[in-house]
């Protein structure tokens, strides 16, 4: 039996969670909040991967696993596939989603269209703040990807880039 959840439910739950961690629990230390959110994502990813890899042969190599993430896993979670997968063949993959559902309903004031990476906590100018606030919402999916992959035996580090909304790309660096 496949159970389904209302998308909007998940969306609002998601935003609410991020809000909780960023503004309530760890209001003044975003790194910690980020880590917590990522950890939640990690566990979710592990469980999802456990479920979605049922009934399918084991992956021969990393690329297969990544492809699985891009295709089946993504469409299970977001009802769409990753739009573009790039890799330097040295263990780094870039998964690009041109319309990432969880960013679809977000917007930053137009001044903040510069690319803001998830890791950087640069000078808190207005737009970079806004970008950071938005990037907070990307730790969860990052965690999901990392959890799924590491559960598939691929330890890795995942980070996300917001290019122009609502496109965003996840960078997977596989730990050798």
């Amino acid at each position: 039996m496949v159970r389904e959840v209302s998308e909007s439910c998940v969306d609002s739950l998601m935003t609410e969670m991020v809000a909780c961690y960023c503004n309530r629990f760890y209001a003044n230390k975003p790194e910690l909040a980020a880590r917590r959110i990522e950890a939640i994502g990690y566990q979710v990813g592990q469980q999802l991967s456990e479920r979605y890899t049922m009934e399918r042969p084991r992956f021969g190599d990393h690329l297969e696993a990544i492809k699985f993430i891009c295709k089946d896993f993504w469409s299970e979670v977001f009802k769409k596939q990753i739009d573009n997968l790039k890799t330097n063949h040295r263990g780094t993959f870039v998964l690009q989603d041109n319309k990432f559902p969880w960013l679809a309903r977000m917007s930053v004031d137009p001044s903040a269209d510069n690319v803001s990476s998830v890791e950087d906590y640069s000078a808190p100018t207005a737009e970079s703040k806004a970008a950071q606030a938005m990037s907070m919402h990307l730790y969860f999916p990052c965690g999901i990807i990392r959890g799924a992959l590491s559960n598939l035996g691929i330890p890795c580090a995942v980070s996300a880039d917001i290019s122009s909304l609502p496109a965003c790309s996840f960078v997977v660096r596989i730990k050798a």
């Binding site: 456990e50 084991r58 021969g60 598939l152 035996g153």
Partner: protein, 143 residues
């Protein structure tokens, strides 16, 4: 009949071992399951032996020991399911079917937020489900 089923984590740590015999042979079964891991490793590490069913989760019969037959199943997440049975002629279909149901049960068990990944599975519902699956083993396709 199925003598024993086991779930072994990706670090080869037993997550769940359940024997379905009255006899007090827990130790022996543990040994059997434990040894079967060797065979699993072998199967996985040099696939030329496992041949056609390359990378299939179902590993087929791992090895016979005494009057048991040991079947194996390796998930994508490197979790092993081991099935020890005394039946002489076991239909592969049955075993596959068994493992499929067992796997789904397992997935539900680990999706339980209170389950600590890598720790023993203590969920009672899981145990019940497993026992029902075990009971129905063989009849599914025989019927």
């Amino acid at each position: 009949m199925i003598v024993c089923v086991a779930v072994v984590g990706h670090q080869n740590n037993p997550l769940y071992i359940q024997s379905f015999t009255e006899a007090d042979d827990a130790l022996k079964l543990h040994h059997i399951v434990h040894c079967s891991l060797d065979v699993v490793d072998e199967r996985v590490n040099n696939p030329k032996k496992s041949g056609p069913m390359l990378n299939e989760t179902f590993l087929g019969m791992l090895y016979p020991i005494e009057n048991y037959k040991v079947y194996g199943y390796l998930t994508n997440t490197k979790v092993k399911f081991i099935l020890v049975t005394t039946d002489l002629d076991v239909k592969d279909a049955d075993v596959r079917n068994f493992f499929r149901r067992f796997h789904s049960a397992y997935v539900d068990a680990v999706s339980n937020p209170f389950h600590v990944p890598g720790k023993k599975i203590t969920s009672r519902t899981f145990a019940e489900r497993v026992s029902t699956i075990v009971k129905s083993f063989g009849f599914s396709s025989a019927a």
